[in-house]
Symmetry: C2
């Protein structure tokens, strides 16, 4: 069984990660498993356990942390939120791809534990067009330009931890680029080599 690919979609806040992720899942030829988060907060009306979240007790969550079973987690307004490793591991082992949409800090934590994933950094189109826009306008005050340059610099520093940079200039274009990335990730030698080696071992044993 060929292992699925873990696709981690991340990027600065406000870049449109959620919109791109939803558009990806609407594509007819995509069959990802969405990585379901675990939380200790109460389910809201209509939320389904194992679909919207895995709802667990505080004790269960802390046990998961202690066992090294959380790829990443954070505490927010008194509740834990995190990504359980076993669900992703089992899904990948079954040959199905998993998409994890996550903010930058979480993505870096995940990468430490699952470096074999395809880490995609969604960039705002402004970053690329920033220079042109600032020069063209000619109206920005120096401190505004400085602040923008500073923000852009910080974004670039984050980007260095990823495998791919996808500009979110148009959602449909960003979706197509991500689909191309996934297609090509399946051709990477580090993904197909284990399959070939297993085949050879079987051949040699028979």
């Amino acid at each position: 069984m060929k292992r699925g690919v873990l696709i981690v979609l991340s990027g600065p806040s406000g870049v449109g990660k959620g919109t791109v992720r939803k558009a990806l899942f609407e594509e007819p030829d995509i069959d990802f498993q969405y990585s379901i988060s675990m939380t200790t907060r109460q389910p809201r009306d209509g939320e389904v356990n194992g679909e919207d979240y895995f709802f667990v007790t505080r004790e269960a969550f802390e046990q998961k942390i202690a066992d090294g079973e959380m790829l990443e987690y954070a505490e927010y307004v008194g509740n834990y939120y995190g990504t359980p490793k076993s669900f992703i591991d089992d899904t990948l082992a079954s040959g199905r791809d998993v998409l994890l949409e996550i903010e930058v800090q979480g993505a870096l934590q995940v990468k430490e534990k699952m470096p074999e994933g395809a880490y995609i950094f969604l960039t705002p189109p402004d970053l690329r067009a920033l220079k042109e826009r600032l020069i063209m306008r000619g109206t920005e005050q120096l401190d505004v330009i400085d602040r923008r340059v500073h923000a852009a610099t910080k974004e670039i520093q984050m980007m260095a931890n990823y495998d791919y940079a996808v500009v979110n200039d148009e959602v449909s274009l960003a979706v197509q680029r991500i689909k191309d990335i996934i297609k090509v990730e399946r051709l990477r030698v580090n993904r197909v080599l284990p399959e070939y080696i297993a085949m050879i071992e079987e051949l040699e044993e028979s």
Copy 2:
């Protein structure tokens, strides 16, 4: 100016590298520069210097070797054949992609000097279908099977030095996979990061 991508197409002899390379260059949306080899042999009728080969003297070739200007070279029937670095470097610097079709030993030499290339290993469809075929037939003698398994094992060992494995089951499919690889290579962070950093530096200076 965005730097071009060096695409190195290699694989075991007889896999169909030349056929796939020619089919790639016939694609309407492809604008590679083909890496032209240098040789000390005499031009044949109709061969054009700087098109089929760079034809040089033995002294000139050996000077290139001494200067570290050959990405790889070999001597064959008393003549040198090799890949000059400067031509590839200049073409990449001008923003144009370069395709180098080369056998496995040469590819490994090139990789040492230009690890930033996209190294594609073309695999014979047999490798993937080998097991099924051998079992299905049930007619092969043990030593034939052993020889095939040994050859397959050696091929897999070579593959580990590459970035991508492309099965040459059908030329048109192999060509499409290589086109996808090139498209996605342009999204890799290590390729776009220098561009972003240069932009930021310009912004900070202005």
